[in-house]
Subunit: 329 residues, 2 copies
């Protein structure tokens, strides 16, 4: 880890200028039931184009492709929100995008990616990464990784600049952790702009590999089957050397929340902020709602990372946790 | 109508300064499926505290109460979003608020209003207005009407200033109409700041009294039972002399949409913008989606007025129009 170079707030500021015309400047939404001691706001990145914060990092990376390389295009092999973000960003620049998806990917995701003009290549799950690297070599295309890249981290960090701008005296910032790019970027921005704020990552208990790595001070690998147990399909990746180095430099800790807490928080956010949240998007709010004892008091912001959820799952969670008339809207 | 005084963009600018610290600065959300000829954005006022644009007008009115009158408090007799907005605004200033509700009001609305610290007085529906005026006389309290007041109209107009700031070359603006305060305010702002833009009101066919009044050039009364047929419970009021004068001065026309179009638009907005929309909040988007032939082309903004919907109704509309996996998220 001696040679890992951390990004700086200047990298994030430069990213902010690049993404300004494409990214929605999300407001802080006041949470209606918070107390004066723990006033609470949501940063609703589920309102972004493609429904997730991923557009920030992907766009910041694509925007820095040298002009001579643009015709060779970009490649991504995420099957989640990052793939659509890369396709979307490439479309804005008129750059060809190739997205490698597992052949098990649902038609709705394939369609959504194609809709942004990307070429979709379906391969067996185990071949995704190798096929993507093959495309990079064959075509001279640039691989845009979902989190393990300074430009991607800097792009996600623009959320932190906006939080600092809208609430300069923020005291607690809660951020979902998967690969760790989001928390690395936001944490870097908050450390620089609001040095007195505490910054925490939040993971599902069932995919708490980053929490374990953070405590151990080195990457602790959890097999993908173990991480896949959580309902939060957006939080099943694991940190890299690059992101863990950032997390250790900028976070005060990593909390975990249970699956039930994630489901309850989803229904609460739908009702109280009137936005649709995917399971990964609800974990930071779940920490505020159900893990108060593990957090300092004060003005708190939770990042809602995304809102891309299978309609059937949304229906099920809503019917179980939110649809009853008894709970006030 | 000779003596009706229209508000000006200066009134709205002043309102904008008053409300800035309480109102969420809502962004324009790009609609993913719009065409280059008719690029489309939503202005999501369902993200406001109290879940609707009403906080803007109510707060602007309450903020202008003379200091000596504040201890006497404010009164409102809306049973909808306006009542909660007045209660919320009064709470911010520490002013007593009394909300007169029909004794048929659902417990969830009574609770929500009380939660903001307001006193709730329940009376038979027919006595709401007289009881409110009685309170005004007895207590010296100020009545904050839902739309028939220049300060309320100016507050709602701040949405127009924000649209003009974020999209100066907007070409078409679509606004729900009930009592007409929202369209009066936004229309005034857009006329001043984007004089080339066309501005349209949108009503349900089943409560198209404002459309008829607009064409007739004078108030045409529809009995409340007739207006009550629409699912859009937020659009069952009728314009006043004050708002009709504004509408005639600033609108290019008033379109109507069907009940089915409202339901389909609600499900579409939930999916495409990941926000919860009440029926009234969906009519402007429904005009864009289903009445294109009646509208000019160009960069279009639809105002989503609110997101306060009974959970059971939301469930029903979602299950009928949105929950199927077939339609892409």
């Amino acid at each position: 880890m001696c040679c890992v170079q951390l990004i700086t707030v200047d990298d994030i500021t430069a990213a902010g200028e690049r993404v300004a015309n494409v990214v929605v400047r999300t407001p802080l939404l006041p949470f209606p039931d918070s107390t004066p001691e723990r006033t609470f706001w949501l940063k609703p990145e589920n309102l972004q184009p493609v429904g997730a914060f991923k557009i920030r990092g992907a766009y910041n990376a694509v925007a820095q492709l040298p002009q001579r390389s643009r015709s060779s295009g970009v490649v991504a092999y995420s099957s989640g929100n990052h793939a659509q973000a890369v396709a979307y960003a490439a479309k804005v620049f008129g750059i060809p995008a190739t997205i490698v998806l597992p052949d098990s990917a649902p038609a709705v995701k394939v369609d959504a990616t194609r809709k942004h003009g990307a070429e979709v290549i379906k391969v067996p799950m185990a071949e995704r990464e190798s096929r993507a690297h093959q495309l990079v070599e064959q075509r001279g295309a640039m691989l845009i990784p979902p989190f393990d890249h300074p430009d991607v981290i800097a792009g996600q960090g623009t959320i932190g600049l906006e939080i600092a701008e809208d609430l300069p005296d923020v005291e607690v910032v809660l951020i979902p952790i998967s690969g760790g790019g989001l928390a690395s970027g936001i944490g870097t921005a908050i450390r620089a702009r609001c040095p007195r704020a505490r910054v925490y990552g939040v993971e599902p208990e069932l995919a708490a590999d980053a929490a374990e790595s953070f405590r151990a001070g080195e990457l602790v690998h959890w097999p993908s089957e173990r991480r896949a147990r959580t309902i939060a399909d957006g939080l099943r990746a694991e940190p890299s050397d690059l992101t863990l180095a950032h997390l250790r430099a900028v976070l005060d800790g990593i909390l975990t929340v249970s699956e039930d807490e994630i489901r309850m928080a989803m229904a609460t956010l739908i009702k109280k902020t009137r936005t649709i949240v995917e399971p990964a998007g609800a974990v930071a709010a779940a920490a505020y709602l159900y893990r108060a004892a593990e957090l300092p008091a004060g003005r708190t912001v939770a990042v809602v990372s995304g809102g891309n959820i299978d309609p059937d799952l949304l229906t099920a969670i809503w019917m179980q946790n939110g649809a009853t008339g008894g709970s006030a809207w």
